[in-house]
Symmetry: C2
Subunit: 348 residues, 2 copies
C-alpha cells in the first residue's frame, strides 16, 4: 500500500476480480455489471488511481510525448516558441520533452539519441549553428519518426518546416522607412554566411528597387557579431564618411541599439534626422529611449504551427514532406522610426 502509485492490479486484488474487469469498468466498457463498475470506480477514486502512462506507451506503441531540440531556452524568441509548443501540445494531451543543444553538434546528436530512446512520437528541431553533418537527423526519418524543423531551414532533408519570412520582414521594414519619407537608407547587415542574413539583405534591396531607389553597395555594412558596440562603430564610420543617410535598417535589435547610440552621439535627432528600425522585436525595444521600431517574429505561433504539423504527421494525415510553412512578420512601429507621428496600435 505504501509503495508508489496505485495500479489496476491493486484494485483488482482488493476487489477479488481480474485486471481486465477493472480496466473495462474504468473505461465504461459494455458488459460490466453496474455493481462492479461502481465498486471499481469508487476504489480508484479513493486511491487516486492514475493510469500508468509508461505501461500504456509500451502497449500502444506511442508515448504521447513530443521531443524538442532547441539551441537555448534563455533567449526570448526561443522561449516564446517553447511556450507555443507547450500550449498546443497540452491541448492535444501531449507532453513535451525539451533538450537544448547550446549550438553544439555533439549535444544535439546526443539529445536526438535520448529522445529517440524515449520513443517520442515526433521531433521538433531547431538545428544548431554547428550542425552540417545531417546523419543523425537522417536516421530519424529513416526510422519513420515524424520530424518537423522550425526556425532554421534545413536543406536536403525529407521533413516539413515552419519558418519566418525573413525576406518579407526586411522588405516591410524598409518599405516602412520609405513611407516615413526616408530617401537614403543604410543597412547594418548580419554575417553573410547565414541564410537568414542574406534573405534580409534581399528584402532590403528589393524594397529599394520596387520603390525605384538606388542601391548603394557602401550603404550595406556587415556586422559580423551583431553586438551593440560593433554596430555603434559601424554607424560612427557611416556618419563620419559624410554620406547622406536618413534611415537605418538593422539586421537585429542589438545592432539597432548601437546605431541609436551612435546617432545620438553625433547630435542627430531620431527619427527626424535618421529613422531606425531593428529586427526581432526583443522585449527591450519598448523600453529604450527612443523606443525602437522593429520587426516582430511570431515565435509563439511558430511553436504552435510546428506542433500542429507534427500532429498531422503522427496521425498519418498525408502531408507533403516538402511543406514549408512561412509565417508572416509584423512591423512594430515605435518612436525610432515614427516620423509621421501616426498613432499606432499599442505594440507592447
Amino acid at each position: 500500500m505504501k509503495k508508489g502509485q496505485v495500479t489496476i492490479k491493486d484494485i483488482a486484488k482488493e476487489l477479488n476480480i481480474s485486471c481486465s474487469t477493472v480496466s473495462r469498468a474504468l473505461k465504461d466498457f459494455p458488459g460490466i455489471s453496474p455493481n462492479t463498475r461502481k465498486a471499481v470506480k469508487e476504489l480508484a477514486d479513493k486511491y487516486n488511481y492514475r493510469p500508468n502512462a509508461v505501461a500504456l506507451s509500451l502497449r500502444n506503441q506511442r508515448t504521447n510525448v513530443i521531443g524538442v531540440i532547441i539551441p537555448e531556452t534563455v533567449h526570448f524568441f526561443f522561449s516564446t516558441v517553447i511556450s507555443g509548443i507547450e500550449d498546443e501540445a497540452m491541448k492535444e494531451g501531449y507532453n513535451v520533452m525539451i533538450c537544448q543543444s547550446i549550438e553544439s553538434f555533439e549535444r544535439e546528436a546526443d539529445s536526438i539519441d535520448a529522445l529517440m530512446s524515449a520513443r517520442v512520437d515526433g521531433l521538433l528541431v531547431d538545428i544548431s549553428r554547428e550542425t552540417s553533418d545531417l546523419a543523425h537527423l537522417q536516421k530519424v526519418v529513416e526510422e519513420g519518426v515524424p520530424m518537423v524543423f522550425f526556425d532554421r531551414l534545413v536543406e536536403g532533408m525529407n521533413a516539413p518546416s515552419v519558418i519566418v519570412d525573413d525576406y518579407q520582414g526586411a522588405y516591410d521594414a524598409v518599405e516602412h522607412l520609405i513611407q516615413q519619407g526616408c530617401k537614403d537608407i543604410a543597412h547594418l547587415a548580419g554575417p553573410g554566411n547565414l541564410i537568414i542574413g542574406r534573405k534580409r539583405i534581399e528584402g532590403y534591396t528589393s524594397a529599394l528597387e520596387d520603390n525605384e531607389m538606388p542601391i548603394k553597395k557602401d550603404f550595406i555594412v556587415e556586422c559580423r557579431n551583431g553586438t551593440q558596440e560593433e554596430a555603434e562603430q559601424a554607424m560612427d564610420q557611416l556618419l563620419a564618411s559624410g554620406k547622406k543617410i536618413d534611415g537605418v535598417f538593422a539586421n537585429n535589435d542589438m545592432a539597432a541599439l548601437g546605431a541609436l547610440k551612435s546617432i545620438k552621439k553625433a547630435g542627430l535627432k531620431i527619427p527626424e534626422d535618421i529613422a531606425v528600425i531593428g529586427y526581432s522585436d526583443w522585449q527591450f525595444c519598448s523600453l529604450v529611449n527612443p523606443s525602437l521600431s522593429s520587426v516582430s517574429q511570431p515565435g509563439y505561433e511558430m511553436g504552435k504551427e510546428a506542433c500542429k504539423l507534427i500532429f498531422k504527421e503522427i496521425n498519418k494525415t498525408n502531408i507533403e514532406k516538402s511543406t514549408i510553412k512561412i509565417l508572416d512578420t509584423e512591423v512594430v512601429v515605435r518612436e525610432s522610426s515614427n516620423k509621421l507621428g501616426v498613432i499606432q496600435p499599442l505594440a507592447n
Copy 2:
C-alpha cells in the same frame, strides 16, 4: 523491418538466439561467448539499436524523467531556471518534461496529474500565484514521489525548497546606495500580499537601521502592478512632494525604469542627484540609458540546485525534508547608481 526502431527481439530473431542472450551480450555480461557477443553488437550497430526507454522504465520502475511545473517559459528569469535544470538533468542522464501553469491553479493541477501519470521520478515545482489549495501537491508527497519547490516558497508542505534571499538582496542593494553616499532612500515596493515583496521591504528597513538612518513611512510607496507607468507616477508624486530624496530602491526593474523616466523628466541627474537600483537584473538593464543597476537573481544556479536536491531525494540520500536552500543574490552596479565612479567588473 520497416516498422519503427529495432528491438532486442528483432536482433534475437535474426541471429536465432534468445532475447536474454542479446541483452547480456550488449551489456558485456559474463557467460556469453565472444562470437555471439560480436555478432550481436555488430547487428545492433548496423540497425542502430537504441534501448527502448519506455520498456526500461516499466521494468525498472523509474523513468529517468523529471517533471517541471513553472508559471511561464517566456520570462527571462524562468528561462534561465529551465536552462539550469536541463543542464543538470542531462548531466545525470535524465530527461525533462516541462509544463507551464500560466499562473493558473487548474492548469497547474492538470499538469501535476499528467506528470504523475507519466511516472516522473521527481517533480520540480514553482507554484502558481493562484494556488492556495495544496491538495494536489499533498497527494504527490503522500504517494512518495520526490518533490522540490523552487523560486516561490510553499509553507506547510513536507518538501525541500530552493529560493533566493530576497531579504539579503534588498539589504545589499540599499547598503550599496548608502555606500555611494545616499542619505534619503525611497523604496518603490511591491504588492504587500506577496511574501517576496515583504521580504524586500524588510531588507530595505534593516539596511537603513543598521546604518542608523531613519525609516520614514512615506518613503515606502507601494506599486501594486509593478508597471513602468505606475512607478513613474509614484515617483512623480514623490518628487513633487518636495521631499529630499537622493536614492531609489525599486522592487523590480520595470518600476526602476519608471523612476528613471520620472527623474529625468524632473531635470535631475542620475546618479548624481538621485541614484537608482532595481531588482531582478533583467536583460534590458544594461541597454537602457543610463544603464540600470540591479540585483541579479541566480536563476540558472537555482535550476541546478533544485535538480541536485531532487536527485538526492530520488536516490534516497537521506535529506531533511524541511531543507531550504537559500541562494545569494548579487548587486550589479551600473551607471544608474555609480556615484563614486568605481570601475566595476563587466556586468553584461
